[in-house]
Symmetry: C2
Subunit: 121 residues, 2 copies
Amino acid sequence: MPEQNGVEVCEFLCAHESVVAEVKEHMPDEDTLFELAEFYKVFGDSTRIRILTVLCRHEMCVCDLATILSMNQSAISHQLRILKQARLISARREGKQVFYSLADDHVRNILDTAIEHLAER
Amino acid sequence: MPEQNGVEVCEFLCAHESVVAEVKEHMPDEDTLFELAEFYKVFGDSTRIRILTVLCRHEMCVCDLATILSMNQSAISHQLRILKQARLISARREGKQVFYSLADDHVRNILDTAIEHLAER
DNA sequence: TAAACATATGAACAATCATTCATATGTGAA
DNA sequence: TTCACATATGAATGATTGTTCATATGTTTA
């Protein structure tokens, strides 16, 4: 196959060139799409999903999260950091403990949307 | 630290035991949460996001997708298989070509929800 | 201050995964 | 049937990532 930008591509356009051109024109920029994928990646781990599910109901300290999920504290802390960096949760220190909670209701909506979609299959 | 189910956990519950018990009670079953994470994992790759974005606008054959995304046909095919298994897209053969399109409008909603969330930061 | 507790974090390891390469399958044209 | 094209797929590889272990940081109490 011939190359284009150093990448092998088909020799010719299968569909109308106009469609390809039109789609290319309206593609969001690469950064936005990458950011979108990174955002979803955060939800794409069952430990993090379980943490979010717990926090959907109640704010929780690291220790209790570890108890509920039967995982060690370090693993939970690592995942909390990822969730916090994605601004899905926020932290509040109270003495020795740190309580985590959902950043906003948007997270609930996002989870609900997916649950709804899965239910419809 | 002491162990519970072979996993190290904190020595005592930091918050009220009643809260922990209440949350544990209402946790969706493991399978559902795992499925949810698997679902999001599909969105958590920029190649797949780009494919979905293209298909949001127009149905497309593999060859044109490869052209638009400047990737080789094999990589696209592998990702299309994952998207199809997740029932996010569907295929339609027309002669030698296979045209892919979004499975339903739910996918659009899911993408829009995330875009909206990202925009609000 | 020292000790105990709760959480955070760096390094290491195992597992997962996206891409590439080579090749197979399926379809239409000659 | 044979050839050319479009797509699919198995194996290999390099990169990413979740968990664990050890340890550091931060806070309260004695």
